[in-house]
Symmetry: C2
Subunit: 430 residues, 2 copies
């Protein structure tokens, strides 16, 4: 029978779903809790109300107490962590103890664990691994295809269900997708979904975006939320609806308005990246591209080659880090480097022409700059970057950027790569 | 007067420090909670016991209730989020309400906010910003040098203090460092510190590491905790001590034992990376290096050039993604590619010799493989990678790797880069 969250809410003042992350390493700040974010997103997709996340250490007593607390106020608890073989892994027994239940070995699971281990790690014979096959009597097992620790679906009392997962993100995710998703969907979801569509902008700051669409940001359904990172601003449009098609209809007019407002800045949606849309566009045009990198040191090429299928358009590149190689590999005249310096419009232009001719392609991008933390001067401060783009007609577009010199090396490299890619995008658009 | 946490623990069964992250975007899974990790680490450094983290949405009623709960069981609460100007930002008023207190405008703060805005964003005149200058009467302000929203230090009742911070990580961090650190240290820390030292291992799995040092993992002070990522295993040794020098003494024998046990696998400590130790070693030897990349597409070069000072040893590289460029830029014979294929020991070897000769360096690394998801075959499956390293004596070391074909493109590229770097490290060691 389907549990109706709304109904329960009225009857028992229970508040839906909670996530509990278990692990002293989280409290010590050793690792970032990416699991909670991922599960939160999954719950959103299922349209479930999720009101609280808690993180707690590997302490049996505190864990039992907290789980009891949660069982009083929520219907569904998702836990991660503490399912492994070490003495610190206390989740299953602490959950059982919270409801005065015992856990029992399941021999079939133990056989499965031994088989998994004998294939992969024949040297592990540690009996402590057996711990992982102990569960409360009436718990349903969540199979773990990627590791040894299974999870469980357990309903220790009326209107309260616990799902446990290991803390290893890869194992947790596949267990969610193979088992938990369907269980939660058929037992807890009221059939509505949250649907999100994200527009990605670059070349504009978050403050300007927010100020421009101040009124839209106050909408209630759909909602629009801006998120900024170093290179881009994302606008996430979210709506609750009965189906994906209804959601898309609700989102459509908002999306249209945003696309008109930020026409030049929007480069893609959802999982698209600047590099993926460039690869797609160049494939469509049947045009090839090459790079000559100095200050970005291979990062520009690695962005393009992170895209599956990039070999159809990206022929390769040269990382001419030293002046010697700028000359020998890219035919940049020595006297040009001596007169203007390696970081100059003239050298960037020459690198771009050089790499295009040598590597014989339709497009070439070159980039030379000062990423720091050393090498800056009054006339050429850290963050000064020259980009040159040569196209099929051999027309050269030159771009000069001065990033904030207080930015670190990695940030300046990433901003440079972003401007290389975005500049090419704007050229291809026009 | 200094609050003695231990004493309070006995008297009031209070449990130290908690972190509360406020924001519906966290519950929706839109962003990862990096603030909680950072603060957790800071509390560790201050030697404070921190037992619980909670995340909750922008809902005034739930927030007030939760803060009341926390004030019953903890001495110190650190909150992030909800201090901004929008209607969703409810933290200060909800905290005040939890203790039946009112908040009042502080005109001097409002003047400060207006001044900050007129310098930076003259177009923002929104009066809702004034919200950010409302605080309980006896709250002490935490100045925000990077943004408009100040935080507060407030003691609404005996043995309970709240510190509030905005959710923007950069603002939160500088406020912590400038104001909160000293306040917490002088009011809550018992003078001891947690000190950590991390050893970094590669070329060995977490299971093998854990199995090998099973006994050490059960130590209580110092503790040793393993953390695994795709490329490496970290062993974090942590100790509580009166001073850094005492901590180092406690850690010394453990570190010695680990270094003996995993001599070949340990490549560095703490913030060191494979690339940073290679750059250091090559600078010491006064030897240069170049790369010829195929399947890694620039990623290997970008790793080396992420290290400040790498230009002293890294001359540059060639990304010969197409066969045409392998021939034209690296002198790989066309018939070699035709006979053995681009992904072969023979071609990797030829690429390595070619790039070393062309770019004139002491060391050269080449890498060619199948990163997927396309391009695999029965004889050359996805994950097959050839690496060749040529040294000053022109001796060539050839390495063949077969990564799990189920790994994604990015993982195979990263594993390849890691093996390129680690293979060179082992050669330089021997």
């Amino acid at each position: 029978m389907k549990t109706n969250l709304k109904h329960l809410l009225n009857k028992e003042i229970k508040e839906g779903v909670e996530i509990l992350s278990i692990g002293t390493e989280l409290l010590l700040g050793n690792i970032v809790n990416t699991n909670a974010r991922w599960i939160a997103e999954q719950l959103s997709i299922l349209g479930l109300n999720h009101f609280r996340q808690t993180t707690i250490g590997d302490n049996a007593e505190r864990l039992s107490k907290l789980i009891k607390e949660i069982s009083m106020r929520s219907n569904l608890l998702i836990t991660t962590g503490g399912l492994g073989p070490t003495p610190d892994d206390l989740t299953t027994e602490s959950i059982a103890k919270a409801f005065n239940q015992k856990i029992y070995a399941r021999e079939s699971i133990w056989e499965g664990i031994k088989m998994k281990l004998s294939q992969k790690k024949p040297y592990i014979t540690n009996l402590s691994l057996k711990k992982q096959c102990f569960f409360p009597k009436d718990a349903q097992i969540i199979n773990n295809p990627k590791g040894t620790a299974p999870g469980m679906i357990w309903k220790p009392k009326e209107n309260f269900t616990i799902l446990t997962f290991p803390g290893v993100p890869d194992e947790m995710k596949v267990m969610w997708e193979e088992t938990a998703y369907n269980f939660i969907k058929s037992n807890f979801s009221d059939g509505s979904i949250f649907f999100s569509n994200t527009l990605k902008l670059t070349g504009i700051g978050e403050a300007t975006v927010s100020e421009t669409i101040k009124d839209l940001l106050e909408l209630k359904n759909p909602t629009i939320a801006p998120y900024a990172s170093l290179e881009e601003v994302k606008l996430r449009i979210t709506t609750k609806a009965k189906s994906v098609s209804e959601a898309k209809l609700l989102i459509k007019p908002i999306k249209k308005e945003l696309k008109e407002t930020f026409s030049k800045n929007i480069f893609g949606e959802d999982n698209e990246s600047l590099q993926s849309i460039l690869v797609k566009e160049l494939i469509k045009r049947n045009e090839s591209i090459v790079f000559a990198e100095s200050c970005t040191g291979g990062l520009l090429s690695s962005y393009i080659t992170s895209v599956s299928g990039s070999s159809k358009v990206f022929k390769g590149g040269v990382i001419a880090y030293s002046n010697e190689l700028k000359h020998s590999l890219l035919d940049v005249p020595i006297n040009l480097i001596n007169s203007f310096g390696a970081v100059s419009e003239e050298v960037a232009e020459s690198m771009s022409i050089g790499v295009k001719n040598k590597l014989k392609s339709d497009w070439a991008i070159s980039v030379s700059g000062i990423a720091g933390p050393d090498g800056g001067s009054d006339s050429k401060p850290i963050g000064l970057v020259y980009i040159a783009i040569t196209g099929p007609n051999n027309k050269i577009i030159k771009i000069k950027k001065q990033y904030n010199p207080l930015r670190n090396r990695n940030e300046i490299q990433r901003l440079s790569v972003n401007d290389c890619l975005n500049s090419l995008r704007l050229i291809l658009l026009s």
